[in-house]
Symmetry: C2
Amino acid sequence: MAFSEFRPLDDNSLIEYIKSVPALSSKIGNDFDTLSVKEVGDGNLNFVFIVLNSTGSFVIKQALPYIRCIGESWPMTKERAYFEYLGLKEEGRLSPEHVPEVYHFDRTMSLIGMRYLEPPHIILRKGLIAGIEYPLLAEHMADFMAKTLFFTSLLFRTTSEHKRDVAEYCGNVELCRLTEQVVFSDPYKVSQYNRWTSPYLDRDAEAVREDNLLKLEVAELKSKFCERAQALIHGDLHTGSVMVTRESTQVIDPEFAFYGPMGFDIGAFLGNLILAYFSQDGHADQANDRKAYKEWILKTIEDTWNLFHHKFTALWDEHRNGAGEAYLPAIYNNPEVQLLVQKKYMTDLFHDSLGFGAAKMIRRIVGVAHVEDFESIADAAKRATCEKRALDLAKTILKERRKFEGIAEIVSAIRQYES
Amino acid sequence: MAFSEFRPLDDNSLIEYIKSVPALSSKIGNDFDTLSVKEVGDGNLNFVFIVLNSTGSFVIKQALPYIRCIGESWPMTKERAYFEYLGLKEEGRLSPEHVPEVYHFDRTMSLIGMRYLEPPHIILRKGLIAGIEYPLLAEHMADFMAKTLFFTSLLFRTTSEHKRDVAEYCGNVELCRLTEQVVFSDPYKVSQYNRWTSPYLDRDAEAVREDNLLKLEVAELKSKFCERAQALIHGDLHTGSVMVTRESTQVIDPEFAFYGPMGFDIGAFLGNLILAYFSQDGHADQANDRKAYKEWILKTIEDTWNLFHHKFTALWDEHRNGAGEAYLPAIYNNPEVQLLVQKKYMTDLFHDSLGFGAAKMIRRIVGVAHVEDFESIADAAKRATCEKRALDLAKTILKERRKFEGIAEIVSAIRQYES
């Protein structure tokens, strides 16, 4: 390897690095004469270089030992690249159609070489803001979540495999702590990092900090996040961690991966779709009132859960007599008890997903990191109106989530909060 | 050290070993002339040697690479001695009055040197069978459980400390798997290891294997046991893991220690007291009808939970503004929300404890390992009558545990099942 200790790459040292790594240089036919290198990272957490020539291409992602946050530097272990690598490999093994292939990993350099997701791939969030429909999105995301969550849970695995992997991912503690802070803590207290569309939402932000029942519920979710090793979760599965075309759906950036509650992934995705929904009125104009697009988002929310439910339980049925140790076939050996345990499991998972999804919505409105869906609405009053609807719905879901019996009821609730 | 690789000790090699370890030989004033060595292990899992002379004493406990079970040999990692050592050190640090001091640990030899709990210390289970009252037992066990569970939970610790220790104890997977099998699986299926007082309980054992609702509930408990890292638990806190005199209560044998659900420890202790209660009729004779003793057991059950509740919440209140990250003081900053979260936490813990306690009762009646409380009742018909009452109560508690609002209701239920 070219570098014996960590250093941030630049355009020049990157070339030197690639030359020293056959797994990378072979991807571009060892041809450096016509090579194009472009740094496209948003500069918040990582360097991301797109490297390509006429022969081939790849992406280099290098973790930096900090994140930038509202102009400040926040130290953050570059070891997260190791867990992102582990996550990409494991999720890629389980759902190869929806995870970019990894070509190379260098722990010293906190560097991953992986498939370049060529145009017209864009970040899903940007597609949602642009009002683009993705007809296969629900199907693909349901497939990704069903496979990655099922196959890393005790429904499929032995407790020996489980404990070994749980221990490994305990090492990703710093990234977990970041989530604990920004999702489960900061929005519910006074914090220098919090912000919201002021002055419009001043009272709403204060109300979140003073809502005892909301705090009670978010504490339960935080406990689950910190204590419950249910499956290998992506840990940051919002619409900014998915790249899409009309035909392709690719999940990236699993640097927050660890063994946690499945509902955190499902909720992250659904919650961010709901945010996208409520932002649409802010993007409507005379050319496009976004009404049809909003219906498509609602359908995608409903389809995602329903397809996930179908695929997950189908995997469970298929592997019922496998090595998974949660429900031994010798015990759960009749159709009646199978139905009972599956219904309970999926109901609990649905309610977990709603809770985590709601918590992720709240934090995007009154916490540190906001979403471009709302941020790109220039008119602050209009933005605040959109955000307040989403916030009010999220508070209701978080507190009343156990009363919802299916995703159709959530879609109804979304419609109700739109006024 | 005398031995560079593992070998089981005998009386002769034990002396050689002690001579090579100053931490041990100094305890007996380096005087080997009048030394008494007695092997007192029950031969199931470990060698236990009592070593003493007029100067001092200690116990040597060596783990063997198997457990003996119904006459057969069952391989079992001797690495459990390492986790027993870790458990003794940590629980001893947190509750020094109730854990014997460790003098020496040798990982290669799977050997622990520790305080000899001198007579009249006996195993609590034997005291319960003999009908001896221990006036401080509830207070001491409540104290031990409150301290060891509180101080290793996220109520007191940061998630960084928590994840580090969770990862370490993931290594104790083999012992966890033993519990998974004998507590949560075998009793609910046909297994060569199961036994019960036949023919009296044949129908009852079958009914356990065919009770879908019971299986649904035990699956939820098994998931919590496998997935929820709530605190460092002893993992085997029945009345055979406690040594007592009227004044002293000492918790031993934490070789099953790992980060799991707190209710598993509390339930193990309470469940085994309930078994002791139901066994009393089998030990009654003309000299002692055991009626007063049964009342003492009921009082001890009630006091143990109530004192635990009191001590645990007192520790919580005391350390409310400490480093614990479950409920940050900046969020849970008013008396009303503090009351809400504490009530919810303790109610959930109570129901967990009932569920785990009931599961532990069931497995002692229709599973592989029975308790001397019942086994020492020679008359099989009488024994079966006692066991059936305990089993029926345990099934009810396991299925209906969420309906019990306090320990007094459990005591009432115990009285109801006694006919």
